[in-house]
């Protein structure tokens, strides 16, 4: 479906999109062995990000916590010989929860740097394993919301007109819903018998309520991109609508999408922790930071370390992710500095 345009516009129908043009400009001098190396959008952004100390701090902490969560439980098993769910059975002590750096007889010990929980399990290993679940839920649910939000926003923006109007009105309506309440109803009514089933339910529930802002952002971007010449060129050569959307338009919205996705991860992790804290989220034997904190709250008066370590680890991670997201936004789009 080619719309008739004026003759000068038709003359430069074959036009490289700006991103590609910049990328090519970046490569060509290097191939030709010339002096100046151009800068791409991404390299510029990366340089700006590295100048932002708080963002670098966030990036380093996030990477460290992720690596520790992945490798930690195995390393602890190698060093001290217990798994996160190892319950000491040989001693018949009444109280099995010990403060940090303390062994079973009150002596100093490196074995449990975060103390032990009610059953005598190592809190450090539990927090690291909980981190796996928390980060996993955060990332997978963000991907689910990305998938829905980007497709929805791109379709609404590309087709425009009445379709756009109806689709976006629906988003407005969903925006004003008390979604968290609906999620709680969903999770409690369809409570799965298995921990894995509940986890999948959690992905679906969290992902399907957090795509709204993403859809708005992508729609806005697509609206401003779809009248550019490279889209017209694609259309003129007979490319289908779906292909234009996903091959030509969506890749060009990547910057804001990455920024917003980075800021969505901590939000979703917080919601997951909130749901797990209330007992609707991650089920035992799996544990996330939220469910560990929920267990810890029960014993706050006697064993405060059971709450403080998962809580502080989680706060540190969210803190760093938020700084990283802010830094990325400033780096990728210096004009988009709102809050």
């Amino acid at each position: 479906m080619v719309t008739q345009k004026s003759t000068d516009e038709q003359q430069d129908l074959i036009h490289t999109p700006p991103e590609v043009a910049i990328a090519e400009a970046d490569v060509r001098p290097a191939e030709a062995g010339e002096f100046v190396r151009g800068t791409s959008l991404w390299r510029d952004a990366w340089r700006r990000l590295l100048k932002n100390k708080l963002a670098v701090f966030g990036l380093v902490v996030v990477v460290l916590i992720t690596l520790a969560s992945i490798a930690g439980p195995t390393l602890i098993k190698r060093t001290f010989g217990f798994t996160p769910d190892y319950i000491p059975t040989n001693d018949v002590k009444l109280i099995r929860s010990f403060p940090p750096f303390t062994g079973p007889d009150g002596e100093f010990s490196w074995a449990h740097p975060m103390g032990t929980d009610n059953a005598g399990r190592d809190q450090f290993a539990r927090v690291l394993q909980g981190g796996q679940i928390s980060l996993f839920v955060g990332i997978i649910s963000t991907l689910v919301s990305l998938l829905i939000g980007v497709s929805y926003g791109a379709i609404a923006g590309y087709f425009g007109g009445r379709i756009d109007n109806v689709m976006m009105r629906l988003v407005d309506v969903l925006y004003s819903l008390p979604y968290i309440i609906v999620v709680i109803v969903l999770l409690s009514m369809f409570r799965s018998q298995t921990a894995r089933g509940q986890l999948i339910l959690l992905f679906i529930a969290l992902g399907s309520v957090s795509w709204l802002t993403m859809a708005r952002i992508v729609r806005g971007q697509v609206l401003s991109l779809k009248n550019q010449e490279f889209v017209l060129a694609a259309r003129a050569t007979g490319v289908s609508g779906a292909r234009i959307i996903f091959r030509h338009l969506v890749p060009n919205t990547l910057g804001p999408v990455i920024v917003y996705a980075t800021l969505t991860i901590p939000q979703i992790m917080l919601t997951e922790a909130f749901l797990s804290f209330l007992g609707f989220g991650v089920q035992a034997p799996l544990a996330s930071w939220g469910s560990l904190a929920a267990d810890g709250v029960q014993n706050i008066a006697i064993f405060p370390w059971q709450l403080i370590f998962p809580g502080v680890t989680m706060a540190l991670t969210l803190f760093s992710l938020n700084f990283l997201g802010d830094g990325l936004r400033d780096a990728l789009d210096p004009q988009m500095r709102t809050v």
Partner: protein
């Protein structure tokens, strides 16, 4: 203006009906029943329970009956677990608790947030700016279910200053910790929003004009800058209300307050179907009406906003 309000109400009322229908549908689609526990009931008893609650009728009749009594009499029926108490009684009894905590928390957040944010904007890039904004980021990142117990640990179990939990009537010391816990995150958000809004406004032409005509600095800030700089804060009120709702759920759980959120969690865990629908509907109505009010307030405050 009136047309705008009427048009918004036309969207709001169907939305509330959608929320109720969605909740009803989720409950009906869910496997199991509210009466079936661990053991299977004898067939005769199960049959009489189903008859009593109208579960033997086809789904559209059940739906019709529920919606009709809600629309006609605003009647959600009787709670299944709190026997003999109607859903409306429970809601009206628990609402003041949630409202007291929520409103106080929001007011506190507004006062502290706007003050801190404005000072940070006026002294941009100063030590105060950096430290208050780092603190605000910390406030956003510490989950309230971590903050609350830590406050209890320090102020109740450590220093013995404040009671650790329970409801003690409206003006009471029991409110201090729940309100602090709930407001921390909004304080942080509002401080960040105010700072961003004020920074933008302070660079604008009309502020330069106000300064140029010799107004005092306080006059410029209080009478001119704040009015424009607070627009983001006002438009945040809608989302804030939604967050406040989820926040009260946790805070009421931690501090054992008999508010709406606590009843909602109990109803969800017990599968108390009429109570779930009642509370969800009530929350949806409050939220949507408040959003409408915020939009109207926005139009009054910002002459650039036009409703077409």
């Amino acid at each position: 203006m009136l047309r705008f309000i009427v048009r918004r109400l036309f969207v709001t009322i169907p939305t509330i009906l959608i929320v109720i229908t969605l909740t009803w549908g989720l409950i009906k689609l869910a496997p199991g029943n509210f009466y079936s526990g661990e053991k299977r009931l004898p067939a005769a008893i199960e049959k009489s329970i189903r008859e009593k609650y109208g579960l033997d009728k086809p789904w559209y009749q059940q739906y019709g009956k529920t919606m009709w009594s809600i629309l006609r009499h605003f009647d959600f029926g009787t709670s299944l677990r709190f026997e003999g108490q109607s859903v409306n009684t429970i809601i009206w009894r628990s609402l003041p608790v949630s409202a007291a905590v929520g409103i106080l928390a929001y007011l506190l957040a507004l006062i502290v947030g706007i003050t801190v944010g404005s000072i940070a904007a006026l002294k941009q890039n100063s030590r105060w700016d950096y430290s208050s904004m780092a603190l605000a980021m910390l406030g956003i990142s510490v989950p309230n279910f971590v903050l609350g117990p830590i406050l209890v640990l320090v102020f109740s179990l450590g220093l013995y200053w404040l009671p650790p939990s329970r409801w003690g009537g409206f003006p009471s010391r029991n409110l201090i910790l729940p309100v602090l816990t709930l407001s921390a995150i909004y304080m942080a958000y509002i401080a960040r929003l105010t700072r961003a809004g004020m920074l933008e406004v302070l660079r604008s032409d009309y502020i330069r004009t106000a300064r140029a005509k010799g107004l005092s600095e306080t006059g410029v800030v209080v009478r001119h800058a704040l009015r424009g700089g607070l627009m983001p804060v006002i438009s945040y009120t809608g989302p804030a209300l939604a967050f406040l709702l989820t926040g009260t759920i946790v805070v009421e759980r931690i501090f054992a307050l008999p508010g709406l959120g606590n009843y909602f969690i109990q109803a969800s865990l017990n599968r108390d179907e009429p109570l779930i629908i009642g509370i969800v509907a009530f929350i949806a109505i409050t939220l949507l009406l408040m959003n409408l009010l915020v939009d109207i307030a926005y139009a009054f405050l910002d002459p650039r906003v036009r409703y077409h």
